[in-house]
Point group: C2
Chain length 342, copies 2
DNA sequence: AAATTTTGTGTAAACGATTGCACCAATTTA
DNA sequence: TAAATTGGTGCAATCGTTTACACAAAATTT
C-alpha cells in the first residue's frame, strides 16, 4: 500500500485556510499571525507533511542542492573534503550532488552542464589537471552561479576560493628538517605548471635561504606523484657526487618510493637520511618508519568551502571582492624525520 | 550579463508550434513526424536549449537523481563504491546525491527523508552499524521506492542487494595460509551481530575443517576494526599456551596492529608467522612486509548496484523476486603470507 | 472621528515540462 | 464511396510551491 504524500493544499483544507497561508506560515512569513503559524506547524507535524523540494526549487528558480566537482571522489583528499562539505551543508538543509571529472576537461564541462540542469544553487569545484581553458568556468560567473574553488586555483578567475598555504607547508617541513640537523636537503616537485607545486618549491627554497643553506639545482627533481617515480628520483640523488641527507617531497607517494629504496640500501631513516612528504595520506602513519608529512586539513577545507558558498548564495558576503582563504597546513612529525642526535 | 535559459516555449515560438509538440519531439514521441522532430532538435541545439530537470521531475513525480547512503564517504571502501555508482549512472543520465550516516540510525532516517523530499528515483544504501530497527527501510518499500542494499545485508528485508561473498573470501584466505604450510591459524573477527563478520568466521572454520586442522576457540578473538585492538589481540595470542603460527583477520587495521607487534618482538613475518587481512585497504600494499588481503571489488560493487537499481527503476527486472548478488572477492597475495619454504 | 498605517489572509498567476483528450486531415478498409 | 483507422498537432490541466497584488479588519496616528 503506497502512502500518498501530503501537500500544503491538504493542510489548507484541513485548517480551512488557503495554501498560500500555509506556505507562508511554514516559511515563517512576518505577516502571518503566531496563532495560525502554530496551528499550521501542528497539523503539518501531525500529518507528517514534507515539502516537495522540487516544486519549491522550480518556483524559486533555485534548488537547495549544491554540486561538487572533483577529479576523483575516491582519492582520500577529495573524499575528505566532500565529507566536510556534506557535514556543513546538511546543517543548513542543503544537500550535495557529486560529479567526477577523471581529470578530463570534457568531463568537467559535462559535469557543469549536468549541475546547471539540476539548477544547483552553487558549485564547489577542484579543476581537472587537464583544464587549461577556463571558459566554462567563466560562463558560470556570467550566469550568476555561485562558485567556490578549492585546492586547484585558477589565477585568471576571481572566484572565492580556499586552498592550503602550500608555501607555508613546505617552509615548515623544510625548517623542521633543518632543525633536526639535516643540511643537504633535496626536493621532489611536480609539474611546474601547477600552482601547488610551484608554491611548495618556493617554500622549500625560501626556507633554505633563510637558514643560509645551499640550493643545489641537482637536488630538485620534477616528477609525477607516484611511488615508482620516487624510487627513480632517489636513485638519481644517491648516485650523484653531492649526496643529500634529507628529502622534502611534494608527494607522499614519491616520498614512499624514496623510503623504500633507502631501506633496501640499508640507509637508515631518519638517522642517516630524513624524509618529509606532503598530503598526509592515510598510509603514511602506517609505514615503518612512519612518514612525516604535511597535513592539508582537508575536512576543514570542505567545511570552509561550504560556508563560503552558502554565504554567497544567501547574498550575505561582506564584500564584493572574492575571498581567497589560505588554510594553515599542519606538519605531522613522525619517525622519518625525527632524529634525537645530529 | 546573465544569459537567460531557454524553455520549450521559446523553441515553440521560434518554430511556430506549441510547447507540447516540442516536448513530444524532444522525447521522441511516435506521433510526431520525423520532419518536425528534426526541426526541433536543430533549433534546440542552435539555441543551446537544456531541459529544466526540476520541472520535468515535478511533473513526472520522479527525478533523475539517485541517492546513496553510506556511513562515511571518506572511507576508502565506500568512496570506491560511490565512484563506481557515479560512473555507471552518469551514462544513463542520472546523477547521485550522497548522504552520510556516521553509523547513526538517526542520521540514516534523516538521510532517507531528505532523499525522499528530493524525489530521488531510487536509493543505494549501506545500513549504519547502529541500525537494528529497519522500519524506515521497510517504509521505503511501501512507498514503492526502488532500493538496492550493498555491503551490509539486512536479512529481514527482501531488497535487491549486492554483497561480497565474505564466506568465500575468508575461505580463500585461510586456504592460502594452509597451503603455505601454516597449521595453527588464528582469527580476528568482528561484532558477531554483523553478518559480514559471521560469514568470514564461517569461511575460516570451514576451511580449517576441510583441511582437517583444529579449531581452537582461544584463537578466535572478537574485536573492533582498529590497529590498537589488533595489537591487544596478538599479544593475547602470543602469551597463550598454544601459540598460533598464522592469523586471518577480518580487518586490515587489526591485522596491521598484529604485524606491528610481531615486528617489535622480532618474530619474522612471513617466515615464522603468516598474516592475511580483509578489505585490501590502500595502505596494505605499502607496509613492510606488505600485507596480504582480500579485495572487495568495491568499484565493481558500485557499478553493479547502480545497474540493479536502474533496472528496477525502469521496471525491466527479469523477475519479481529481489536479486541478491554475491561478488567474488579476490585474494591479494603479498609478502606477509608468502613463504617459500615451510 | 476621520485618515492613515499595519496585520492577516485570499486570489491568481507564475515556474517549465508533461500528457489525456480532442480535433482535423490523410490514409486505409469495407 | 462511405466508414473506420491512423498520423500529426493543439488545448488545457497538472505537478506543489511561491509571491505580487488586492482587500478587509484592526490598530494607530492626527
Amino acid at each position: 500500500m503506497i502512502k500518498k504524500k501530503y501537500t500544503i493544499h491538504d493542510l489548507a483544507r484541513e485548517l480551512d485556510v488557503t495554501a498560500s497561508t500555509v506556505s507562508r506560515a511554514l516559511n515563517d512569513h512576518p505577516r502571518i499571525s503566531e496563532k495560525t503559524k502554530k496551528k499550521v506547524f501542528e497539523t503539518a507535524r501531525k500529518f507528517g507533511y514534507e515539502p516537495n523540494t522540487l516544486a519549491s526549487a522550480l518556483r524559486r528558480g533555485k534548488s537547495n542542492t549544491i554540486g561538487i566537482i572533483v577529479p576523483f571522489i575516491d582519492r582520500s583528499f577529495f573524499a575528505s573534503v566532500i565529507r566536510g562539505v556534506e557535514e556543513e551543508t546538511k546543517k543548513a538543509g542543503f544537500h550535495v550532488t557529486i560529479c567526477q571529472t577523471h581529470e578530463k576537461l570534457e568531463d568537467e564541462i559535462q559535469s557543469i552542464q549536468t549541475l546547471l540542469n539540476a539548477r544547483v544553487s552553487g558549485m564547489i569545484i577542484s579543476a581537472a589537471k587537464e583544464s587549461t581553458n577556463f571558459d566554462h568556468l567563466k560562463a558560470l560567473q556570467d550566469k550568476g552561479i555561485s562558485v567556490v574553488l578549492f585546492d586547484r586555483l585558477i589565477n585568471s578567475l576571481d572566484n572565492c576560493s580556499v586552498v592550503i598555504d602550500d608555501f607555508l607547508g613546505a617552509y615548515k617541513a623544510v625548517e623542521h628538517l633543518i632543525r633536526q640537523g639535516y643540511t643537504r636537503i633535496a626536493h621532489f616537485t611536480g609539474p611546474e605548471k601547477i600552482s601547488i607545486y610551484k608554491e611548495r618549491l618556493r617554500g622549500y627554497q625560501s626556507a633554505l635561504e633563510d637558514y643560509k643553506l645551499p640550493i643545489n639545482k641537482k637536488w630538485i627533481i620534477e616528477m609525477n606523484s607516484q611511488v615508482s617515480e620516487g624510487r627513480k628520483g632517489i636513485c638519481r640523488l644517491l648516485k650523484g657526487k653531492q649526496r643529500p641527507d634529507a628529502l622534502f617531497s611534494s608527494s607522499d607517494f614519491s616520498a614512499l618510493g624514496a623510503l623504500q629504496v633507502l631501506k633496501e640500501q640499508n640507509i637508515s631513516v631518519p638517522d642517516e637520511f630524513g624524509i618529509v612528504g606532503f598530503s598526509n595520506e592515510p598510509f603514511t602513519q602506517y609505514l615503518d618508519p612512519s612518514l612525516s608529512s604535511v597535513d592539508q586539513n582537508s575536512n576543514k577545507m570542505g567545511h570552509i568551502a561550504a560556508k563560503l558558498l552558502m554565504e554567497q548564495i544567501n547574498g550575505d558576503t561582506m564584500s564584493d571582492i572574492a575571498q581567497k582563504i589560505y588554510l594553515k597546513p599542519e606538519l605531522m612529525i613522525r619517525q622519518s624525520s625525527k632524529r634525537s642526535k645530529t
